[in-house]
């Protein structure tokens, strides 16, 4: 197990190095930090002096190593647009995105488990057919279109819910702007989190259903039936527990997709999170902030995937053996 964990962590480090290298190469080639810092009205001589002072004339690898060293200390450079540290900008925006992802995950878990299990236990009932039918429509629906439809129905036509922004927020621990504690904030959260969960929910329902159906066919479940155990206990204790493992693995991997979809959802709802910040930084060609986001998101992915793999290795020893070549 130890060897497996070490191997996974080493892999994670290599991946992070590659991501930071790509990020730095982008930053190095596009955008001119000197012009962004001082504007156009500076003489070429002064400009060259600033370049020298910032170390922009050093060889590529020297600059990369410096970038890496700074990144390890949490310094991902200056945002050209905000004129402050990119890390600060990201930390300021992160709570909004995290709250959104949290609420969507909650919706997904609370709905997909009962629906998936129901569709597996009673596949012939009309309600299961309805769930499966709408799940394939759900898979075919781009997340931004769901968001637009929600806005049209609930904001434009019915005037029930606000269509953009986060509403009132409360500051927690000095930096965390939370929308979860005010009624207005919660009202603003409803539509974005439904929209964000709409893409994963059908996938999870289908996944849980198919895993559950497979488990229900297995020998030990048949044996449990033969023993005369109550249906409820067979479904929840015997069958459902064993469908959880694949669901958790897939869930970990889906986190990446979730982050990608926050970019879309946040753009539609003008949600002031990391996703809309990223798109704005692309529009403003704020390369520095863009790269900072790339490295930050890359780090989150790598951390989560490594953690999921290691946990999975703990729970399911066969993975470790297969992984050891």
């Amino acid at each position: 197990m130890f060897a497996f964990a070490v191997k996974r962590i080493l892999q994670a480090v290599v991946v992070m190095l590659i991501i930071s290298f790509i990020g730095f190469a982008i930053k190095h080639n596009f955008g001119d930090p000197v012009r962004e810092l001082v504007g156009e009205r500076v003489t070429p001589a002064e400009r060259a002096e600033i370049r020298e002072k910032l170390g922009l004339n050093d060889p590529f690898m020297t600059q990369y190593v410096r970038f890496l060293g700074n990144a390890l200390h949490g310094d991902l450079g200056q945002s050209y647009f905000y004129k402050k540290s990119a890390t600060d900008v990201i930390i300021k925006k992160a709570p909004a995105t995290l709250e959104l992802v949290f609420c969507s995950a909650l919706i997904i878990i609370l709905l997909s488990v009962p629906l998936g299990i129901y569709a597996a236990i009673k596949p012939k009932k009309w309600f299961s057919r309805f769930v499966m039918g709408s799940s394939i429509v759900g898979v075919s629906m781009p997340v931004f279109l769901t968001a637009i439809l929600l806005i049209y129905i609930f904001s434009v036509e019915l005037h029930w819910l606000p269509s953009f922004g986060r509403g009132d927020t409360v500051q927690l621990f000095g930096f965390w702007d939370s929308g979860l504690l005010t009624i207005d904030g919660l009202r603003h959260l409803i539509m974005p989190s439904i929209a964000l969960s709409s893409i994963m929910l059908p996938l999870f329902i289908r996944l849980i259903r198919s895993e559950m159906m497979e488990v229900l066919e297995s020998e030990y479940v048949k044996y449990a039936w033969a023993k005369g155990i109550k249906p409820r206990r067979v479904w929840w204790v015997h069958a459902f527990k064993n469908t959880l493992l694949p669901v958790i693995t897939v869930g970990g991997v889906q986190l990446g997709i979730m982050v990608a979809f926050t970019i879309l959802t946040e753009t539609v709802f003008q949600w002031q999170g990391m996703g809309s910040m990223f798109i704005e930084s692309v529009e403003r060609s704020d390369t520095s902030l863009m790269v900072a986001y790339l490295v930050f998101v890359g780090m989150v992915f790598v951390l989560v995937n490594t953690a999921v793999d290691i946990i999975y290795g703990l729970v399911n020893p066969t993975v470790r053996v297969a992984g050891r070549k």
């Binding site: 429509v137 075919s140 931004f144 049209y152 434009v156 198919s210 990446g256 692309v282 790339l294």
Partner: protein, 305 residues
Amino acid sequence: MRTKWQRFKESYMLYSFLRDPVALGSFIILAVLVISAFGAPIVAPHNPYDSTTIDIMDAQIAPAWSDGGSSKFLLGTDAQGRDILSTMLYGMRVSLIIGIGAVCLQAFIGIIVGLLSGYVRRLDNILMRVADVQLSFSTYMVAIFIGAIIQTAFGVAGYDRVAVPLLIVVIGLAEWPQYARTVRASVLAERRKEYVEAARVIGLSRTRIMWRHILPNTLSPVLVISTVQVANAIMSEAALSFLGLGMPVNKPSLGSLITAGFEYIFSGSWWITIFPGILLVSLILVINLLGDWVRDFLNPKLYKG
């Protein structure tokens, strides 16, 4: 000797296809959509690219059946006075071209990588690691990043001119690991079979075995994922266009039509967004349904559920 057509007519595939109303219905809808998309210059009532026929006075006319609608424009007009139906047809053509092009590129890269890593042991580890890492980042994320980088590199003005091939490259590069994994898995299964051993005994070269013997036998799973991948590629393109990283508004795809209409939804001009949206969803839906059928038919055990 029966002709291919006769063999096809008597095949089980056609029989089970005609027996499945969902598959048949989706196929008919898809055929209608594809024909009207590629026949857009003939089918469409107006030409949205021809600026002489567009009148700004016609802007934001409601669909023909509602108040303020005009019989000249069946589904209404957008903010620039273009006929929605025509722009949708032209837009669907752009979406389809990008989707199919991207899938061809993905399949090309994926099949080569999959074959190499399935047949050449030394390359296997590194190629599959790359694919794993890229997949763990999700194809959307990769596509958005590559799109963003390219846009920064070209600038917005330069981007517009080369948008179609660029989007094909972006989506192709983002989604090849799916193919690579599928092909690799079936290469690993095929290479143990006797016909491969027989070919090796005859003394054929590795390249020949790889391309002429193993490749044709790995193509059925490739076909299975291809249909679904086309739907995915169209969806990715729409998402990229929605973020402003895709097709420009003057040469719209379905995604950029939806984006362009989004601003006007608050003033009540819902048709500019909703109709392209419905078209996009139905296009993706029928492709997915067909994909499900192909999957169940060719390889009932490949996926579950």
